[in-house]
């Protein structure tokens, strides 16, 4: 499945882009962090989480239609 992926903060800076369209395979759907670490090895050395349709989540269920995925570096609000 092809999904729109958004990048924020440190991750966007490292990739030099704020979004892209990514094809995610069946294995990737079950472990999104590992999938994105495979594409972007620098992520293995950093702390980040994945949001699926604005909820922190590491997988996409087989039945779920996904609108948007985001890769989020550590939060620093406040």
């Amino acid at each position: 499945m092809k999904v729109e992926v958004k990048y924020y903060g440190y991750i966007a800076e490292q990739l030099n882009k704020s979004e892209s369209s990514v094809e995610i395979d069946e294995i990737g759907r079950n472990d999104l962090k590992a999938f994105f670490e495979g594409i972007h090895p620098f992520l293995k050395k950093t702390t980040f989480c994945v949001a699926v349709d604005k909820k922190v989540c590491n997988q996409i269920g087989p039945e779920l239609e996904v609108g948007q995925i985001a890769l989020l570096p550590p939060f620093a609000g406040g």
Partner: protein, 146 residues
């Protein structure tokens, strides 16, 4: 309850905070307010001082999470009203980047609510901060939890 816009461009001015307090003088069922103000600290990092922070966010998710946190606080604590404002963009050292304002009939509810709100915001809202140092180099900030 409708969603309120929390994220605002630039620092939160003392005048805005004073105006917000003044607006509550007509809400005479309130007996206690508590306020948390987050201020950008001029930390020293590798011998250089922080000049400002540049905030960015996953805006749509951040507003959703702020809404969830507000709803949770209204359920948990006996509040009359509550307001949260958080900066986006540049905020200089010494300026205010977070304004949380809780009001209730009695003090205990607002003391507890403010702590819950601020800790939840720091932990759960996807806001990112770049600390820009006096020589324009920068470091990405990360919240720490005790």
């Amino acid at each position: 309850m409708g969603k309120k816009q929390v994220l605002r461009q630039g620092p939160i001015s003392p005048e805005f905070i004073a105006g917000s307090i003044a607006k509550h003088q007509v809400k005479t069922q309130i007996g206690a307010h508590d306020i948390f103000l987050g201020q950008v600290r001029r930390d020293e990092i590798d011998g250089k001082l922080v000049d400002r922070i540049e905030y960015s966010a996953y805006n749509e998710m951040a507003e959703d999470i702020f809404h969830e946190i507000r709803e949770e606080a209204f359920e948990k604590f006996d509040l009359v009203c509550m307001h949260i404002y958080h900066s986006l963009g540049e905020v200089k050292a010494g300026e205010i980047c977070l304004f949380v304002f809780a009001s209730a009939k009695h003090r205990k509810a607002v003391f507890e609510a403010i702590e819950y709100l601020v800790e939840s915001i720091k932990l759960r809202v996807p806001i990112f901060a770049k600390e820009i140092l006096e020589d324009n180099s920068f470091v990405w900030k990360e919240n720490h939890y005790d």
